[in-house]
């Protein structure tokens, strides 16, 4: 027998209480782990999603640029337009490799808004190397054809070859291709050749935004500056968008972190209380142990070992639970933040797992200290009599 096995036997004495305490620690650690892994995963996924957009900056009509950008990213419609002249100017700007015009329109079908993208395949497709299409993509001058996203195709039960009435005048459009799932918002859109979209929606010569790819990321600020010389144009870089979203998420994150701080404080108070109770119950036993040769140090080490056992087991259970239940927590978090990237946030990060385990050990030390100190300095005689101040 050693001190560790003695401690294990001691915490088994009150199984119900031990299990409840372990559950308390597990919940606190699970929330902590989920939030930390969400925090890291969110930023990672957001950056990945921004990278997969394929362009570095977006030229939009003057107005509220951030609003316009998030609308465009998620497929919203703004009632302001750029012109073909702006496009020509953008293409002539030094450092611009690709300038892809897009026209965004919205059609309501059965009460659900559908987003229509008018694009030029020749410049858009190089921006989206990840796009794979079942069927084929349209060419510039085709009319009454469209390519649709995979989610949309599934929802509407459409396949290459389907013909649907579409647009303000309900013309017959043939679906010639379906995009394979991209994991981004593209999965929900209708893509039309730009000229055909302008014709169908009566927006000849107008475009909503220009996506720009620079020859080098270092040239992005210079390009933005040059483009903004055009009076109608405002430029938003994707780095700015990421920053803005992270700021927005930051406030949601602080809220979540205050929740976790409260959870940890409650859990710590619970553990300390449980320990004090168990020390209180065993006062006379502690007195006996001191009489038969235990020093205050032995008693303190024994109690801290018991606490560490509880919090470490709680920590492991909490991390396992967080990994197992990451889907539920992610869905909850997604509902709370203003912009959620499509990929999964939670990842099996060994560093994070290690930190959370260290945290639970620290929590055990912190909570065990006072009860341990209190029982270590008990006088053996008073303890045997069951006196506890």
């Amino acid at each position: 027998m050693n001190l560790l096995s003695f401690a294990v036997k001691n915490i088994k004495r009150r199984k119900g209480r031990t299990l409840l305490t372990i559950a308390g620690v597990a919940i606190a650690v699970a929330i902590l782990f989920s939030l930390l892994s969400f925090s890291a995963g969110y930023e990672r996924e957001l950056t990945r999603e921004m990278d997969s957009l394929g362009f570095h900056l977006l030229a939009v009509p003057k107005g509220c640029p951030y609003e316009a950008t998030t609308l465009i990213l998620h497929g919203g419609v703004i009632p302001k337009y750029l012109t073909n002249e702006d496009l020509v100017r953008a293409r002539a700007t030094e450092g611009v490799v690709i300038a892809a015009p897009m026209l965004l329109q919205q059609v309501i079908k059965d009460g659900i808004p559908h987003i229509v993208y008018g694009i030029e395949p020749a410049v858009m497709l190089p921006l989206k190397p990840a796009w794979k299409v079942d069927g084929r993509f349209f060419t510039e001058n085709e009319t009454r054809v469209m390519v649709i996203g995979s989610t949309l195709a599934e929802k509407e039960n459409l396949a290459p070859g389907s013909v649907i009435p579409f647009g303000p005048s309900q013309e017959q459009y043939t679906i010639i291709g379906v995009l394979q799932p991209t994991g981004s918002e593209d999965d929900n859109f209708h893509f039309l050749p730009l000229a055909d979209a302008q014709r169908a929606f009566g927006k000849e010569g107008l475009i909503t935004a220009i996506a720009v790819k620079a020859d080098d990321v270092k040239h992005i600020p210079a390009i933005a500056e040059n483009l903004e010389k055009v009076p109608d144009i405002q430029v938003v870089t994707m780095a700015q968008v990421t920053g803005t979203i992270m700021n927005l998420v930051g406030s949601a994150r602080s809220l979540l972190f205050s929740v976790i701080v409260i959870a940890i404080v409650i859990s710590a108070a619970g553990i300390t209380n449980t320990l004090l109770m168990s020390v209180n119950e065993r006062t006379r036993e502690i007195g006996m142990m001191k009489a038969i040769g235990a020093s205050g140090y032995h008693i303190a080490i024994l109690l801290i070992t018991e606490t560490l056992l509880i919090t470490t087991i709680g920590g492991i259970v909490g991390i396992l639970a967080a990994l197992a239940g990451s889907g539920i927590i992610e869905a909850f978090v997604r509902g709370m933040v203003p912009y959620a990237p499509s990929g999964s946030f939670v990842s099996f990060d060994p560093f994070l797992i290690g930190s959370c385990l260290l945290f639970s050990i620290g929590l055990g030390l912190l909570c065990g200290l006072y009860p341990a100190w209190k029982s270590a300095r008990l006088s053996p005689m008073e303890a045997i009599r069951g006196e506890w101040e």
Binding site: M1, N10, E285, G293, A294, H298, P380
Partner: protein, 222 residues
């Protein structure tokens, strides 16, 4: 040789505002290998004396020597060492740990003295108290008398020269109590100094010397 030498031991407690005098000038010597009973009415100071002789408590004034060593003025850390090396304790309530087996309960003091846990040591002690067949049982499976035997074996595991028992038969029937006293007599024959505090005059008389305490003073058996 005197294993315990107490001179002018006084002990006062505070109970609220009142100052209670538990022991007022106790003089007592106990020789090595003696079997001594301490008797007296409730509140006479038996337990106070026992606690001081057992180094669980320090006297307010007076001199105490254990095995030729002065104990006065020593801190708890040194008192622990004296208890660990010289004294074995037996309590009225046995104080066995319910989740430890009989063998582990007996070995518990070894955990604190840092002595390796040898099953031969435990077995020879269990043989001494007649419970060899109970090694792996839990205290809950034992009778009261058996529990007290385990507690006595535990008190002996560090090879103390003094065995202090506070009302060891207070929770036992007379037949079982008789068995415990027989065990004390055996230990006494083996050379251990046995000191027993008891209410029971009849059992007390089985000791070689009966020390009577009244109102904090030794009135007989010096």
């Amino acid at each position: 040789m005197n294993i315990i030498e107490a001179t002018g031991i006084c002990k006062t407690y505070r109970r609220g505002r009142e100052e209670v005098c538990a022991l007022s000038g106790v003089n007592l010597t106990i020789e090595e290998g003696e079997f001594v009973s301490i008797v007296g009415p409730s509140g006479a100071g038996k337990t106070a004396l026992m606690n001081i002789l057992g180094c669980l408590d320090t006297p307010t004034s007076g001199m105490l020597m254990i095995d030729g060593m002065p104990v006065n003025g020593k801190g708890e850390a040194e008192l622990v060492k004296i208890r660990r090396e010289h004294i074995g304790f037996v309590f009225q309530q046995f104080f066995l740990i319910p989740t430890l087996t009989v063998g582990e309960n007996i070995g518990l003091p070894l955990l604190f003295s840092g002595t390796p846990f040898k099953s031969e040591t435990i077995e020879s002690l269990l043989e001494k108290v007649g419970l060899l067949h109970r090694t792996d049982h839990l205290p809950g499976q034992l009778s009261g008398g058996e529990m007290q035997r385990v507690a006595i074996a535990r008190a002996l595991v560090n090879n103390p020269r003094i065995l202090l028992a506070d009302e060891p038969t207070g929770n036992l029937d007379s037949v079982t109590a008789d068995g415990i006293y027989q065990l004390f007599e055996d230990l006494h024959r083996q050379g251990i100094t046995v000191i027993v505090v008891t209410h029971n005059r009849e059992l007390a008389l089985r000791a070689g010397r009966v020390i009577t305490i009244r109102d904090g003073c030794v009135v007989a058996g010096i």
